[in-house]
Symmetry: C3
Subunit: 141 residues, 3 copies
Amino acid sequence: MHIHHEQLELRTNRKGLYEITHEVQSKIDRRGLLNGIVTVFVQHTSCSIVIMENADLSARHDLEEFFDRLVPEDADYFTHGSEGSDDMPSHIRMVLTRTSETIPIVDGRMQLGTWQGIFLFEHRRGSHHRKILITTIGERQ
Amino acid sequence: MHIHHEQLELRTNRKGLYEITHEVQSKIDRRGLLNGIVTVFVQHTSCSIVIMENADLSARHDLEEFFDRLVPEDADYFTHGSEGSDDMPSHIRMVLTRTSETIPIVDGRMQLGTWQGIFLFEHRRGSHHRKILITTIGERQ
Amino acid sequence: MHIHHEQLELRTNRKGLYEITHEVQSKIDRRGLLNGIVTVFVQHTSCSIVIMENADLSARHDLEEFFDRLVPEDADYFTHGSEGSDDMPSHIRMVLTRTSETIPIVDGRMQLGTWQGIFLFEHRRGSHHRKILITTIGERQ
């Protein structure tokens, strides 16, 4: 039984979904993990990790539109605004989604369904450097 | 230390909550796992896995009503509609809830609280065949 | 490879966020776990575990305000009300957030980002006794 951690780094430059499925699978491949789980954990409070439909760009667009309406930047009761109008909404959007996902691994492959992809969901407008920790637990070949 | 995966399959025929607590515990029993964790992972992007109050049907009803209002089918800005008006809302409802739950196991039993049950939360109206992967990690007897 | 469970108990007396980061790290320290993961699981359906910005109290305040508006106590379609008007909203707020968080451990420390804290998010107004199970999996020194 082996435990291993690897860092994945990502540069974002707008709100929205950034697919990282291949990057995560490639870390698993490099370690030769055959059977176990992987936890994908993002070390920030203004972006999320989500599993989402990965086939159709229009689905991602509609998801982003929904979140912009559910958590608007100009809510008149927000008091936490020193880092810009997209800062407080980013924390709320993170709490409404997820900081990590855990995915089973069988025969060396993540057991994602046909349309499932792993995404960083960026909630801030500017340029950001995001750190993701990928932890595998299981049996190697 | 053992890792084991088992598939659970479920037929749904309406939106709403389907309890799977007993099915998950019975997979754990069959493997004889005494001490560890179980991850319940659903391989779809239009339904979720959630832990929810399992005693009172009215709580489930109100939860379903809430989600129908939070993510209505007829939002005028949706562009992803080729699979029907309940398709885009199903992806949003999935992102707002969870794709997996991880539950501790002690003395062979999931350590759920008194009122906690594990549910598949179906977000589509028609008939669907849902696949759930149940991964146990831990010590056997 | 070791698996260990420890209980953390907490008394709450109002809706809102209660930080438990230090309590979780101190359970990890006591077991001498060096490398692995920790799962923090709350055994209730009317409060949540979330990772949230831990530096600024105004961010927590705004998050609580957002949830009070997103899931109001007086929705006219709620039927599940026997335990008080904050009961049904508490289940919905729990489903919209998380029942557990899983965090990587490296060199004995949880790999939280600079601003990430672990919180119990209480959704009920009265006094409540909350039970949290902390499960560590990994290698000891």
